[in-house]
């Protein structure tokens, strides 16, 4: 296959991997290539990003590669953060809220494990809007904060009790077949152990 096609595939892989990035060994395993070949593709994709007026590039960190936005565009990203969307809560905050609502009490590390991205900011937002609060500390040496929903949360969504939340679809027979529920309810390692 031509290099240009490999670069396209690599771009797709790195994009989907998001902040978790991919190691060279993962890349070469997925592409079924030798590591030196994979490294060559990574290098030429990075070259392409850096040569052109692209918005993203490849960053290498801790033995892995990930796509990142170029620094020169940070002013626009700043503006993006400051430009209110049509919803008063971001996707990140809503996701976090759903996780807290269904899995409370839960630590930040556990939420980040589920979301795969840093979640400090969404948690702060939700606390500042009084939708969630610290409800205690996790057991163990870490003693991380545990989060839970508030009375305001119930009021805002018109619920009498937390049990009134619609059951998550994960118990339906649709899901059991393909085990998607694991993502949410599986036994991810307790980070505070």
């Amino acid at each position: 296959m031509e290099l240009i096609k490999w670069k396209g595939i690599l771009e797709a892989l790195l994009f989907a991997a998001g902040d978790e990035g991919l190691s060279l060994s993962q890349i070469s395993a997925v592409l079924e290539l030798e590591e030196f070949q994979a490294a060559h593709i990574v290098a030429s994709l990075k070259e392409e990003y850096d040569a052109g007026h692209r918005g993203i590039t490849i960053a290498e960190m801790a033995g892995g590669f990930q796509l990142v936005t170029k620094k020169e565009h940070s002013d626009y990203l700043k503006r993006l953060v400051e430009t209110p969307g049509n919803q008063s809560l971001s996707q990140a905050a809503l996701e976090t809220l759903a996780i807290v609502a269904y899995k409370q009490p839960i630590t930040r590390a556990e939420i980040e494990e589920i979301r795969g991205v840093k979640t400090e900011r969404p948690l702060q937002t939700l606390v500042s809007k009084a939708l969630i609060k610290e409800v205690g500390r996790a057991e163990g040496s870490g003693r991380a904060y545990l989060y839970g929903t508030t009375k305001e949360f119930l009021e805002h969504f018109g619920l009498k009790t937390i049990e009134e939340l619609p059951p998550l679809a994960e118990r339906g027979e649709d899901d059991i077949e393909n085990g998607e529920a694991d993502l949410f309810f599986g036994n991810f390692p307790d980070p505070v152990e």
């Binding site: 892995g64 990140a92 991380a144 969504f157 993502l183 980070p191 152990e193």
Partner: protein, 253 residues
Amino acid sequence: MAYNVKIDAFEGPMDLLLHLINRLEIDIYDIPMAEITGQYMAYIHAMKELELDIASEYLVMAATLLAIKSKMLLPIYEDDHSADETEYDDDPRDELVEKLIEYRKYKEAAVEFKHMEEERSLMFSKPPSDLSQFSKEIEPSRQELNVTLYDMLGAFQKLLRRQKLKKPAFTRITRREISIEKRMEEILENLNKVKKRTSFFELFPYPEKEYIVVTFLAVLELMKMNEIFVEQDSNFAEIFVVAKEGVEAVGTH
């Protein structure tokens, strides 16, 4: 006659009827009632024999089929009254056929939906990036929350739609850049919140090396600045940390 009965394969009596109509290559607009009723009943009997639970809807439909069948056996009276009634109005099958056609439309649409769903699943996305480095502190806003429960559930479905990728075989790439300043602020904030002395160990909620180092440096820095006091009652006893009264945050506020 061997019937390959799998009740789960049918979404209800309508689905079963459509299946029979297809299999028998019957014209849906001219259903031979005796034949279809016979076939339908055979299915119901087979289900019974397999001791499957037969939903009541299947039995209701069986009764309907029998009723239509018997109506069609009745002699047709030439009506001498009711001129406004059209003759094709009294085909006893009409209502059933109408329902079957209606149902079939949606059953076919469901196939289309399944196809769209599959196509969609070929596209992968990524979560929104963490842009906190570009934003200022969150001011508690008075802005009205305009989100509903469905927005929350929808956001959660988005999260589920992201296919979870395998973790890198060795190191996980972390980009958790915690500054000592930030950690100092956090520590002070927490200490001020509890308003009494806190165990030193509680300052280390995450078992990550980087985090522990930064926290440790932050504590040293705070001690140097006299913002916190560290107490230990005796050698090897638990170490406690307490905030200097009135101190809220470093530098700011």
